[in-house]
């Protein structure tokens, strides 16, 4: 189980490759990997978005994401989970969040991946501020 808070742009696919290389005990044990990557779009709510700042509560963020991962591990039969979440200034097309789940089985991988991203969105203390042609605005929650 690994949680990384990234202050710089990251490559989600390279993160997965590195994680798998660094966890040789996973090899041959997982039949299923389910992955979600959330990426910054260049439009939102009808306006072009030029840049974004992702503020977070650093000391709480890691703890909250680790709790979410631990809940996923206790609920589904999964072998490992990796979360990388960006913070700070972002540009369009930058990955914001990566959730990857390894399991022997497809159902557990999908369910746990979905659970982690859904919980992240409602519990992890991040706040998005967008920069549009009309100025800055805080993104409203769903």
């Amino acid at each position: 189980m690994s949680v990384r808070l990234a202050g710089e742009a990251f490559d989600p696919w390279g993160e997965i490759q590195s994680f798998q290389s660094g966890h040789p005990k996973l090899a041959g044990k997982f039949g299923a990997t389910a992955v979600f990557v959330g990426t910054m779009r260049d439009f939102n709510e009808g306006a072009a978005v030029e840049a974004m700042v992702l503020e977070h509560y650093e000391s709480m963020t890691r703890r909250e994401i680790e709790k979410i991962c631990a809940q996923a591990v206790s609920r589904w039969e999964i072998l490992d989970v990796l979360v990388v979440h960006r913070h700070g200034p972002l540009a369009p097309n930058d990955p914001i969040v990566l959730v990857a789940v390894w399991s022997a089985h497809r159902d557990a991988a999908f369910a746990a991946c979905r659970f982690v991203i859904d919980e992240l969105k409602t519990r992890a203390p991040f706040w998005k501020q967008e920069q549009t042609g009309a100025g800055q605005r805080w993104v409203a929650p769903e």
């Binding site: 990557v37 959330g38 990426t39 910054m40 779009r41 939102n44 709510e45 009808g46 978005v49 974004m52 992702l54 503020e55 977070h56 509560y57 000391s59 709480m60 703890r63 909250e64 979440h85 914001i96 969040v97 991203i117 992240l120 969105k121 409602t122 519990r123 992890a124 203390p125 991040f126 706040w127 998005k128 501020q129 805080w138 993104v139 409203a140 929650p141 769903e142």
Partner: protein, 87 residues
């Protein structure tokens, strides 16, 4: 002895400060901390964390605690809701 107070995002901007320290004396709950440091009513939907754990305005505060106030969170990916699904 003091309480460390932290404000984030739109609440931080509105109050013009990200961190504060208030005396513990006379503090019972997170609502007391808010009142002492912010001086205005808390916006609807204000979230509270005590020592980096979710709590509420009614939660008791102990000396030395870190009490944080912030708006609903918006992490994960951007705008995953299909705008066409809205009214």
């Amino acid at each position: 002895m003091t309480i460390t107070v932290r404000f984030f995002a739109s609440i931080r901007e509105r109050l013009g400060k990200s961190e504060d320290h208030v005396a513990f004396q006379g503090i019972g709950t997170a609502a007391d901390v808010w009142q002492r440091s912010a001086g205005i009513p808390a916006p609807a939907n204000t979230l509270v964390a005590i020592n980096q754990e979710y709590a509420s305005l009614d939660s008791p505060v102990r000396d030395g605690d870190e009490v944080a106030f912030f708006p609903p969170v918006t992490g994960g990916s951007v705008a995953p809701v299909d705008p066409r699904a809205r009214s």
